[in-house]
Amino acid sequence: MARVGVPEGTLVKKAGFKDIDWSAWIVLAMVAIILVLFLIYPIGRMLLESFVRQDDPIAIKNLTLYNFRRFITSKLYKDAMMHSLAVSLSSVLFATLLGLPLAFIMSRIDIPGKSVLTSLATLPLILPPFVGAYSWILLLGKNGFITFLLKKYLGIDMPSIYGFHGITIAQALSYYPFVFLMVQGSLSLADPFLEESADVMGAGFWRKLRTITLPLVAPSIGAAAITVFMKAIGNFGVPSILGGEYYVLPTLIYFQIVGFYNVNAASAISLVSVLFSIGALLLMRRVTAKQAAVTLTTTTRKVKQITNPVAKTVGFIVALLIILVSLTPHITVLVAAFSERWAGTPWPTKMSTANFLKLQAHALSPLKNSVVLAVVATLASVAIGSLVAYTAVRRKFSGRWIIDLAVMLPFVLPGIVIGVALLTAFGAPPLYLAGTAYILIIAYVIRRMPYVFRSASGALQGMDPVLEQASTIMGASWARTFGKVTLPLIAPSVVAAGLITFTTLIGELSTTMMLYSARWKTVTVAIYEYLLEDLLGPACALGTIVNVIVLVGIFAATKLLGQKVSNMFGGS
């Protein structure tokens, strides 16, 4: 730079080594290394592995479409793909059928206890879906209580709970809160004047619903449906318990790994599954882009509530029924946990804590493993997630797309796919980590860090950057500013995100199944093993413990943020 107009003999204050604030660059480099090594590299590796045959090294001459061709040649593959689409689409359908009326009732009808009902309706989203799933065996299985009643009094033979029906029921009931929360959000945001003007013009209730209300919230319904689809197509826990011989893509991946340790085939299946997710995500982008134009309302007036007593009664009963049905599996797990004998009767014939006592033998060390892994992974997620958020929000640099990608990917990639990616990258030298605690922790961090990121970057965006500038001007280094000003101010959001991270990791099954070893068996794996041995009682007892940990964690997080549960999970 030309030093124009500067008198001769002026000392140039050059920033010496100690004057430069290296801390920010060190953090930036660390973040970059973590993202590249543990996310970009494994996914890239998985991509390559899917194009070579098992046991072939990755090389140009070995490239082949063999693994993908099996989707045409193998009935197993073809079926799994069709099954995945079928159960995911039917889950979307039933989740919408449950979520939509509930959203309408909760936002438009003046029914009592809305706040409690909303929290209860959010529960299925919080509790690990596979824990609720196996209660369907108790209810609708061969010796299930409902199966028994239907047969005895109505003479109906229920189809097997294993397969399409079971998976659809369990997933729809777990994911319908997405539809409920997202649609309720936009229903309560919708401009009341639009409906009132339809009123004035003489439109009746049903016409109004059909021509004004539903079209206005259609983008939210679409977005919710796509969210459910992505969740369902990537879900491993439910089909692994209720699937039986009915393979879907995630269980097929598991089968390829556990049965043949064929990472190449697993990679290819993962890729196909991810393609569906990405397709759905692209669709969602288009849908939500439209939504932005619709929900913009300038009025602060609340939507008018229906106060007709008949509508209130019917609405309340319908809402309660939907919520009760969706909580049935979780209540069943709780009851089964405390029952010693329960087969074919409406109520357990003998209640005791025997199931919990049985856990002592096999479940204590998995419980400890889960807590240790979850704590370490949570701390790492919080540290990395908030630093990445800081980098993304506060720093201008050209590599931002890497962060955006790294943060978006785990939303698109099902847990089992991340498991496969890490196996391909670290299942062989030079970096052999398979079976260690490290690989589980890495997997957990990769999957959960984006949630901390979201929370922290939201808090950072709400925080005026002049606070940090003021600290810098007063002479504080970057590290001091981050520690004394930034961190304390975003702490509530970050801690809450950490609590949620911890609870979801305690209930994590899909990634763990791909990566665990006997030494690092987690509580969810222990539940899975109990189920394989048909030990439903202990499985329910352990599931109850998981649910309690999850609920306590979420409750603490909501208290910390002063927010309702429903606001933290997808409610707009």
């Binding site: 920033a15 606070l467 500038q469 810098t472 001007i473």
Partner: protein
Amino acid sequence: MVNLSVRKLVKDFAGGTRAVDGIDFDVPAGTLFTLLGPSGCGKTTTLRMVAGLESPTSGSILFGNEDYTRFPPHKRNIGMVFQSYALFPHMSVFENVAYGLRVRTKQAEEVKSKVGKALELVGLSHTAARRPSQLSGGQQQRIALARALVYDPALLLLDEPLSNLDAKLRIQMREEIRRIQKAAGATTLYVTHDQEEALSISDVVAVIHSGRISQIGKPHDVYEKPASALVADFIGRANFIKCLITHKEGTGRAVKVAGSTITVGSCVGDQASFNAGDEALLFFRPEKAALSTSPVESKSVPCVVRQVLYLGESVRYTTELPTKEVVQLALNRRAEGIDEGSSANIVLEASDLRIFPMDQYGLIKRGN
């Protein structure tokens, strides 16, 4: 305390916008120097470059005889008051003020006594234990000032510090800021868009337009002897009338305005170049004119009064010249016998008049 010198400072933002376009100025040690200009003129960008929060595209920033242009902000030893104060909401008033001292790793005793003195200086010793959110706007403002001054920075920067206060408090606080600044003897760079604030608080004012300095001067010079129609128009209220130079004698000029001849006193600087036969813009402040029922030789222009607004401390007359040009007058009392619709004469003193080139006519705003 040091001198601040800014040399040929340029800042281009991404996308090619030139926010600051070659700015030069000097702030002598201990003085309060104000950058005044409309929003988007580049004054805040200049301040942020001095702070090190933005890096200049070219040019230099000197503290004393040291070039700090590329030096990191946290090592510059400056104090800054932000528009929104930027008090740390999670710290007490005491901890806020102590922050800069703790960064400089001062002894606990010293921190305590210095914070005490700083709070005393701004008259808020009793608020030490409170949180910023428990203070009023004016109090927060003073804490921000105490926080910026407590560690004796080489330079104090104030970025529109009064813009978040209501009108009455603003007047009170600008007196307070001037008092505290003089008591601390801090070399100060002050940024504002409020011309009254700038005139009242500053030792020297620099008027900035489109990234360039239009005029640097003492407040009364900038107001009474604006260097251009642009400055005259931005600071205070102004009348501009087209005129024709008819006669030149030394520094004096005679100009023809709407058929009347008027004397303009000592024309220096740019004005000195005007010769007989040139067209020009005649400028005067609304409060520098008088209204009379009878014409005054070489001093008056006839007009018709269109509107009279009584504002309490002044009376505002909107008049129209025979050329249909509108002239605003602000008199401190009602003119006897002159009402809406009356014909009258605008009386102008030679020393209150200035002339500017016609080509500046396009730059000024109309219709005030």
